[in-house]
C-alpha cells in the first residue's frame, strides 16, 4: 500500500488583498491630509462644547502662549505678502525678495517688527532655535508701542474678509488676553472666534439651534 501523504498547507499567504487594502487606506489618508503647520509656539487650548468649526480660509490667528507672548498669522500666502508690503511701507523698512519669500512660508510669527528682518535672513535651522519674543501689545490697544494693531490693520487691508480667531493657551493669564482684546476693540472688531478643543456636552444637553 502506498503511503498516504499528508498534504502540507502552503505557508505563503496571498498578499494581494492586503496590499489592496493598504493602498486604499493610503490613498484616503493622502487625499484627506491637512498638514500640521510648523507653529512658532505650542499652544494647548482649553476645550468647550461649542460645535462650530474653525473656518478653513480667510482666517487670522492671534495666538497667546502660556507666557503671554502674542503670535500672529494669516492663512493665505499672497495676503501675507501684501500684508508685509503694507507694513514695510508704513514703517519705512524694506525687505528683499528673499526675505519676502521666507515670510510667505511662515504660518505665524511672534517678533517685534525691528527684529523681523534679521530673523528672516537666518538659515532655517537657526530659525527653529530662536525663541520668539512675541509681538508687543499694550493695555490701551492703540499705543505707539502696540505692534499687534499694525499687523491686524494691515492684514485686514490685504484681505478684508478676514475672520479673527484667538487661540489662547490654558495657562495664559487674563491680563495678556485683555491686551489682545483691547487691541481688537480699539479697531472696532467686536466679534471673534476663540479656538478651543472639542469636548462632549453634559448628558441630556441639547443645542437650541437644532
Amino acid at each position: 500500500m502506498p503511503k498516504v501523504k499528508v498534504k502540507r498547507a502552503s505557508s505563503a499567504v496571498d498578499m494581494t488583498a492586503m496590499c489592496d487594502v493598504a493602498f486604499l487606506l493610503l490613498t484616503f489618508f493622502i487625499l484627506t491630509a491637512q498638514f500640521r503647520a510648523q507653529d512658532a509656539a505650542t499652544i494647548e487650548t482649553p476645550s468647550s462644547i461649542s460645535g462650530i468649526k474653525v473656518p478653513d480660509k480667510d482666517i487670522m490667528t492671534i495666538a497667546l502662549d502660556k507666557d503671554g507672548k502674542v503670535y500672529f498669522g494669516i492663512d493665505n500666502q499672497q495676503h501675507r505678502l501684501a500684508m508685509l508690503d503694507n507694513i514695510a511701507s508704513e514703517k519705512g523698512i524694506s525687505f528683499s525678495d528673499n526675505e519676502k519669500k521666507e515670510f510667505m512660508l511662515m504660518s505665524n510669527f511672534g517678533l517685534p517688527i525691528n527684529q523681523l528682518k534679521s530673523f528672516l535672513s537666518l538659515p532655517k535651522e537657526q530659525k527653529a532655535k530662536i525663541k520668539q519674543s512675541g509681538i508687543p501689545t499694550d493695555s490701551t490697544g492703540a499705543g505707539p508701542s502696540n505692534e499687534l494693531k499694525d499687523w491686524v490693520y494691515n492684514a485686514r487691508k490685504a484681505n478684508n474678509d478676514l475672520r479673527i480667531a484667538l487661540k489662547g493657551d490654558n495657562l495664559a493669564k487674563f491680563p495678556n488676553f485683555k491686551n489682545v482684546l483691547a487691541t481688537l476693540q480699539a479697531q472696532n472688531i467686536n466679534k471673534f472666534n476663540l479656538i478651543t478643543g472639542t469636548e462632549a456636552p453634559p448628558a441630556g444637553w441639547k443645542s437650541d439651534e437644532e
Binding site: A22, I30, S48, V54, K173, F174, G197
Partner: protein, 178 residues
C-alpha cells in the same frame, strides 16, 4: 515561498525538446504591503485629524457710547475668576451690600449654582457678569463662557474691570490679592 510552479516541463524526463523556463507570474507582495503601511502610518501621524472647534465671542462696541438702563442687582450674578482655578460668585446683591461669596470650582458645581440662581429670577431677566481678575487664566475664562452655553444663559457680559467695592469685597472675604 510555496508559489505554484507554472514552469511546467521541469520534471519531465526523456523529452527531447529543451523548453524555455517560464517565469512565475506571481509577485511577492510582502514588501509592497510593508511600504504601503509605512506610508499610511506616516500620513496618519502627519495629519491633524480632529479639527478644533471655535466659540464665538461678541464684545460691546467700545468706540460708541451707548446708554443702557442699569440692571437690578437682584437679577445679577457676578462671577469673579480667581487664582488656583477657583470661581467666586455673588448673587442678588451688589458688592457694597455685603453679599455672600460662594467659592466653587469650574465644573459641575458652578453649573449647579448658575442654574439655581437662574431659577429664582423670573423670565429672562437673569444676567451673569463675568469678571476675571489678574490671576485668572485663559482656561478659566473659556470654561465660564462654556458654562454660559451649557446653562443657556442668554444675557452675560465679560467685564475686565473690578470696581472699588468689588476689590475690597474680594480682599476681605475671599482673601484674594488684587
Amino acid at each position: 515561498m510555496a508559489e505554484i510552479d507554472t514552469s511546467g516541463g521541469g520534471g519531465k524526463k526523456g523529452g527531447g525538446k529543451v523548453r524555455s523556463k517560464k517565469a512565475s507570474t506571481r509577485v511577492d507582495m510582502t514588501p509592497m504591503v510593508d511600504l504601503g503601511f509605512l506610508l499610511i502610518t506616516f500620513f496618519i501621524l502627519a495629519t491633524t485629524l480632529s479639527k478644533p472647534s471655535s466659540m464665538t465671542l461678541n464684545v460691546p462696541d467700545k468706540t460708541k457710547e451707548e446708554k443702557t438702563e442699569p440692571i437690578k442687582a437682584s437679577n445679577v450674578m457676578t462671577i469673579f475668576l480667581g487664582d488656583d482655578n477657583k470661581a467666586y460668585s455673588i448673587f442678588g446683591k451688589a458688592a457694597n451690600e455685603d453679599p455672600e461669596i460662594k467659592t466653587t470650582g469650574y465644573g459641575y458645581e458652578l453649573r449647579q449654582l448658575i442654574q439655581n440662581n437662574a431659577r429664582t429670577v423670573p423670565g429672562d431677566k437673569f444676567v451673569v457678569v463675568i469678571k476675571p481678575t489678574k490671576q485668572a487664566n485663559y482656561r478659566n475664562m473659556v470654561d465660564v463662557l462654556d458654562e454660559m452655553a451649557i446653562t443657556k444663559t442668554k444675557r452675560y457680559a465679560l467685564v475686565d474691570e473690578l470696581t472699588a467695592d468689588e476689590k475690597t469685597l474680594l480682599k476681605d472675604k475671599a482673601k484674594l490679592d488684587i
